[in-house]
Amino acid sequence: MLAALIVIAAFAPLIATHDPYLQNLGDALARPSGAHVFGTDELGRDIFSRLVHGARITLTIIFLVTIVVGPIGLFVGTVAGYHGGWLDTILMRVTDIFLSFPSLILSLAFVAALGPSLNNAIIAIALTAWPPIARLARAETLTFRSADYIAAARLQGASSWRIIWRSIVPMCMPSLLIRLTLNMATVILTAAGLGFLGLGAQPPLPEWGAMIATGRRYMIDSWWLVTFPGLAILCVSLGFNLLGDGLRDALDPKQMNKR
């Protein structure tokens, strides 16, 4: 399912049957049919083509958030866990403060402050998504820190950076990857939520959440406007959740209880 998402995003122009931005007011709010598989929206744009192009936006968000959040979380978590002491206390306090908000509310606040746009939505999501990763990385680091081979490396005079990078980071990777995968599902939902509230991608971008928001006005008569973008979000986010869940069972059964 996720491979399908990537393929769709990569070949969006080829798969799309219509130009996602092409308006055709004469053909507005058309039911799903042979010409428009998922129907058209209030401006006569082909919904299927917009969804296909929207996949690119979704993937971009996921990708950007993940490459920002993964390293930050890893860095904060391993450094805090490895060094301990006051550094650990401070870093974990900061993490806790971020964790004491539901992530959507915090992203809302950030976007409100930065101004609504797709880029700001990505920044806001990234800002709120690193703390759980950091917590996990710290917990993992703590379990490895006292291991013999780390002590051995220390005795050989390896610098802490080197130890963290060479020995601890690789050990954290499996559970971190699981967490990031599960995180992607949340990121998709948060991004869609921001788009829905008009705080994320702005029209006419074919972002799925924003499409639902505009479709809402026509919902009662034209169900297809909201149904298909929602299904798209559901499928992708379910895909990541199932993948993460499967990875969790396959890679480390003991991590089940950690948040």
Partner: protein, 334 residues
Amino acid sequence: MRRAVFGQATGIIVTLLGLLILTFVIGRIMPVDPVRAIVGEDAPREVYDRVFRQLGLDRPVWEQFLLYLRDVLRFDFGTSIRTGQPVLEDIKRVLPATIELATFAIIIGASLGIAMGVTAAVNKDRWPDHVIRIVSLMGHSMPIFWTGMIGLLIFYAALGWVGGSGRMSQFYIGMVPETTGFLLIDSAIAGEWDVFKSALRHLILPASLLGYSSAAYITRMTRSFMLDQLGQEYVTTARVKGLSSRQTVWRHAFANIRVQLVTIVALAYGSLLEGAVLIETVFAWPGFGQYLTSNLLIGDMNAVMTCVLVVGVIFIGLNILSDLLYRVFDPRTR
């Protein structure tokens, strides 16, 4: 014990302080000029400067923060530009609607999640376990605002089983005096059972959807706690005594995870508030979430930051509460 309480209290204060710093900083980085927001676009220079000083914007940042801190300690969060009311008053007015919704939702979500989690654990790796995994992950993967709309389309527009938007039918609005702000309670006090019914019909759909979405987390945690317990030796003891597997599961194994579940449910309640923001928009629910989003869209930062602060405080409060409950209910920690 006393040390632990002391440590925890310090922790809470530090977190609260951090919360304030965070909201302060977010309030700082906004591109909108707060003075212009108050005095308007074409106010004369001296008016602008006066307000600029009034807001303390001419002082160093740390002093501004102290001023902010002072205001907060006095429970003075400024007035909302949109409603012209003190923000705190506004929030007090809208919060009950959200709490009513969220509480109903958590009752539904917790019952569903716990039932599914226990069933999944008892039937580990058999078909009920797999079905439950999919069902609960579905709830976790659905964009709640979309589910809300589809729910309205199906159960309200097509089937007519539930009420539509709002907390009650237009017809009843203003019929019961606001005593507590909780419509179900107010209408019951007033003896207006029609209003009560209408409120319930309006509440049930958003609350169920919200509950369903929160059930995933509760299900997963219940399942893993339960699996832990079912592997314990005392479970065998109960079976040896001749208890049926149902009695064993509920009277013994489940009794042992109740305390942990309280924590989980408290956390889930907190994240329900997140879904509430979105679903209130869909259902035109006059609650906290709607208040927050409508202020967001017009850039009323005073109101927005206060809302964020309130959510943060509720979150911390829930954490403390679950900690306390843990201590009260687990004989081993007494």
